[in-house]
Symmetry: C2
Subunit: 472 residues, 2 copies
C-alpha cells in the first residue's frame, strides 16, 4: 500500500493537485502530439526495426515502481515511435484520421470505465446503443428501423456473429448439440472477400473447406451466375447452403458485389444474406478504433442464439425493463463501450456531415485516378473509375517500364512496391499499402478515409513514389 500512497495516484482525492497535474501533463503531451500529427512537415513514422526499437528505450517491467516523471517520459517515447495515423499522408489503412469529437468521446468513455452488459452498469451507453442501432437499421431500409444488433470488437467478429446466427436460424439444435447434429453446411463468399469469413468458419467448427469462393469479375465483383451454379452444385452433393456473404467495398479493389442479384438468389434458395449486415463506422466514417456493428433483421434471434441466462449476471427480478440488459445477446461477457464515440460524432456532424466527409474522400480518389490513369510509368490494375476510395495501380520505374521479356518484367515489378514502401517508412514521409492479388504481382492499393487529406497530399504521394522508385 505504501507504494500506491507514495505515488499518490489513488484515490484522486478532492483537490489532489498531484494527480490532477499528472493528468493535465499527459493531456498536454497528447495535445502537442495531435497538432504535430496534422502537420505535414512532421514524419508519418519514425521507423525502427523491432530489435532496434526494443533497445532505444527501457520497456521492461519490474518489481519496483517508476516515478511519475518516468511515466511521462514513457508516454512521450510511446508517441514518438507511434505511427501518426492522423497524418494527412498516412494512407496505409481504411481507418485513418483522428476526429476531434470522436477522440474526446473516446477519452470520456475511458473515464466512465464501464461495461455494456447491463442497463444497471451502463444506463446511458445502453440507451445510446439502442438509439444508434435503430438509426442504422432505418438507413439500411428495414421497416421502421426494426430488428436487432450489437456493437462488436471489429468487423471480423461481426461477420462471425452473422454466420453464427445464420446457422442457428436454420438449425437451432446446433446450440445444444453441436455441428454433429446438423448436415454438412456450406457458406459462399467472393474470392475477393475478407479473410474473416474463413476465420469465422474455422472457429465455428464449419471448416474452411466449407467456404466456397465465388468467382469475381475483373473489377472484383462477385459473379451471381457463378454463385447460383455453386449453390446448386452443393445441394446436389447433399450439402446445405446456409450463408452467403456479399461485400460492399472489398478490401483491395473496393468492389461492390451486386447485392440485389445476390439477394434474389439467396431468397430463391432460402439462404441467409440480406438478414444481417456488418457496418464498420471505424472505416469510412472515421470513428476511432474500434467501432463495428452487426445489424440483424430478425428481433430476438441474437438473444435466443447466444443467451445462457447466467443468474449471477442477468438477474430476472430487477426493478427496470430487462429488455435493456443486452449482454446475453453477446459472445462476450464484458463488452467495451464502443458506442459513445460514434454517437457523439453523429451529433456533431449530422448524417450530412458524414456524407460530406465520405464524398470528399471519394473525390480525392477520383483525382488520383484521373492523375495517374494516363501518366507515364503507371498502369491501373483494372479499368474504369474507382468503385470506392480504393485505387489499385502499378508504378513501373524506368528500368522496368521498357523491359520486353514479360516474365522478367513481372518478376522485377513484383519487387518494386515492397522496396518503395520500405523506403517510405525509412523516410517517414507517407505510407500506402501494397499486395499481390491472384496472378497479379504486387501493386499499390491506395485508400483514403482521412478527411484531413487534400489534393496536394495526393500530388505528394505520386511525387514520392516516383522519387523513391525511379532507380529500381
Amino acid at each position: 500500500v505504501a507504494y500506491i500512497l507514495q505515488n499518490n495516484l489513488l484515490p484522486a482525492l478532492n483537490g489532489d493537485a498531484k494527480t490532477m497535474n499528472f493528468l493535465q501533463e499527459v493531456v498536454d503531451i497528447m495535445l502537442a502530439y495531435i497538432v504535430e500529427s496534422f502537420d505535414r512537415s512532421t514524419k508519418v513514422i519514425d521507423f525502427h526495426y523491432p530489435n532496434e526499437l526494443l533497445q532505444r528505450n527501457n520497456w521492461e517491467l519490474s518489481d519496483e515502481p517508476e516515478t511519475l516523471d518516468d511515466i511521462l517520459i514513457s508516454c512521450r517515447a510511446t508517441l514518438k515511435y507511434a505511427i501518426k495515423t492522423a497524418h494527412p499522408r498516412y494512407f496505409n489503412q481504411l481507418s485513418t484520421g483522428l476526429d476531434m469529437v470522436g477522440l474526446a468521446a473516446d477519452w470520456l468513455t475511458s473515464t466512465a470505465n464501464t461495461n455494456m452488459f447491463t442497463y444497471e452498469v451502463a444506463p446511458v451507453f445502453v440507451l445510446l446503443e439502442y438509439v444508434t442501432l435503430k438509426k442504422m437499421r432505418e438507413i439500411i431500409g428495414w421497416q421502421d428501423g426494426r430488428g436487432d444488433g450489437i456493437f462488436s470488437p471489429g468487423g471480423a467478429i461481426s461477420n462471425m456473429y452473422a454466420m453464427l446466427l445464420a446457422r442457428y436460424k436454420m438449425f437451432p439444435e446446433v446450440k445444444e448439440k453441436g455441428m454433429s447434429s446438423v448436415p454438412r453446411l456450406v457458406a459462399f463468399t467472393s474470392e475477393h472477400s475478407h479473410f474473416s469469413i474463413k476465420k469465422g468458419a474455422a472457429a465455428l467448427g464449419i471448416g474452411t473447406e466449407s467456404v466456397i469462393c465465388i468467382k469475381a469479375d475483373e473489377r472484383g465483383k462477385m459473379i451471381p451466375s457463378d454463385l447460383e451454379r455453386r449453390i446448386i452444385e452443393a445441394k446436389q452433393k447433399g450439402y446445405v447452403p446456409f450463408f452467403v456473404s456479399a461485400t460492399a467495398g472489398t478490401t483491395v479493389y473496393g468492389a461492390f458485389d451486386p447485392l440485389m442479384a445476390i439477394a434474389d438468389i439467396c431468397k430463391k434458395h432460402d439462404i441467409w444474406m440480406a438478414n444481417s449486415m456488418t457496418w464498420n463506422p471505424h472505416k469510412m466514417m472515421a470513428v476511432p478504433l474500434q467501432c463495428s456493428a452487426l445489424l440483424v433483421r430478425e428481433e430476438g434471434l441474437m438473444q435466443s442464439c447466444n443467451q445462457m441466462q447466467a443468474c449471477y449476471l442477468f438477474q430476472q427480478d430487477k426493478q427496470y425493463d430487462l429488455s435493456y440488459d443486452t449482454g446475453d445477446k453477446a459472445l462476450q461477457c464484458g463488452r467495451h463501450v464502443d458506442i459513445f464515440k460514434l454517437w457523439l460524432m453523429w451529433r456533431a456532424k449530422g448524417t450530412i456531415g458524414f456524407e460530406a466527409q465520405i464524398d470528399k474522400c471519394l473525390e480525392l480518389s477520383e483525382y488520383l485516378y484521373n492523375k495517374i490513369k494516363d501518366r507515364e510509368g503507371y498502369e491501373m490494375v483494372f479499368d474504369g473509375k474507382p468503385q470506392h476510395t480504393n485505387v489499385c495501380f502499378w508504378y513501373l520505374p524506368p528500368g522496368v517500364r521498357y523491359l520486353e521479356d514479360k516474365v522478367e518484367k513481372m518478376k522485377r515489378l513484383h519487387k518494386v512496391a515492397p522496396v518503395i514502401k520500405a523506403r517510405m517508412m525509412e523516410y517517414g514521409t507517407t505510407m500506402v499499402s501494397y499486395q499481390p492479388q491472384g496472378d497479379k504481382v504486387n501493386f499499390f492499393r491506395m485508400v483514403i478515409s482521412n478527411p484531413a487529406a487534400t489534393f496536394e497530399d495526393i500530388d505528394f504521394l505520386i511525387e514520392e513514389i516516383e522519387r523513391l522508385g525511379q532507380d529500381l
Copy 2:
C-alpha cells in the same frame, strides 16, 4: 464539407485554438467528474428507468449537426447519468475503481488510434504486448517465460480461444474440415464456472450439451474425483474429452478450484488444462476495461490454428522481422490496443504495487467477513473465511429473521436482496450484486477491487443494507 469546416474540427490545424479549446473543455469536464467520483458525498448513480432516461435528454441522431456547445452539453449529460464506477462505494462488479495512470494510458491509446495487427501500424504497442506477455508467462511459471499469447476483448473471448486451441491441438484437421471430421468432443468445467465456457462451446459448434458440469464442494471448488469419474464415463461412451476449464476465483463464491489435482488428472488423460491461462488484468489489477490476456504454453499453436495468410494484410516481403506481425494469430482482424494501460500501470506500480493493491482489497473482504459473521441478522452462504474478495451473505430483516415456516422464510428472503438493491440504486448510495445459486435463494455477493475503498466504506455498506432493509 461545409459542415465539417463550419465546425472546424478537422484538421486540427497547427494552433487551431477552437479545436484545442474544445478538447481542453472536455478534459475539464472529465477532471471534475473524476474528483466527484472519488467523493463519498456524491451519488454512485443518479438512477432513472430506461424510458424516463430516454426522455430526460434529447439523445436522437439527426441529419443536421449540433454546435460544439451542444456537444459539451451531451458530454456533461452522459457523465451525469453514468454509473460512477470509481466511487469507493461501488461494489457491483469485480472491475471497479479508476486508476489514474491506467486512465491516462487509455486516453493516450485513443490518441494514437491504431490497430494491433501488424508491427507496421503499431510498432510500440506490438513490442509492449511482447514484453508484457513474456512477463506474465514468467509469473505463471512457464520455463523462461516461453510460450505465446494475445490480448483479447474480454475473458469470455479468451476462454473461447483456449477451447479453440485445445480442439485444434488434438484434431488439426478441424480447421479445414469442421466438426464433422472429428469424434464427439466433450469439455469439463465446474458447475460454478463462468457461463462463457458454455457460450464458447455453442459458438464453436461443440454444443452446450458437450460441456459437462463437474460438482463443486460447499465452498464452490471443483471436486477432482467427480471430474475423473465423468472423464472416464465420457470415454466409455466413446466421447473424446479434450478440454478442462478450471477456475481461480469463481464469479460468485470466489472459489479456487484445486488446480494441481485437476492438472494431474488432465495429464493422465491427456486433456488440455495447464496448457493455457486466461488472465484478466481489468479485474483485480484494476486496469481500465477491457484488458484480458490468453497465455498459451505452446509456441506457434495460435498462429497455425488461426492464420489465413491474407496477402493483403500480412505481406511476406516486408523489410522487418515478420514474427512481430501478430495479427494472424487472432480471430479479430483489427484488434484494439489494450496493452498500453496495463503496461503503463505496471511501470507506475511495479509488481509489488499490484500486490499491495490486491492485498488491500483482500484485507477489506476479511474485515467485512469478520464484521458480519456473528452479527445479528446475517448468515454466511458458506462457512469459513473468504477465499478471495468475494463475501457471500444473506441479510435477514427482522420481519424475516424469526419466521418459523422455513418455506415461507426462504420465499420472503429471496425477495429481500432485490428490494434492497433497487433501493440502493434509487438512493444512489452504494451498489452491490446479488443472485441465487443452485437451491440457495438470492444472496448478496460482495466483491472489492477498488483500492480507493476503506474500512469505513465497508461499515457504510452494512449500515446501508440495514437501513434499507429493516422494514422488509
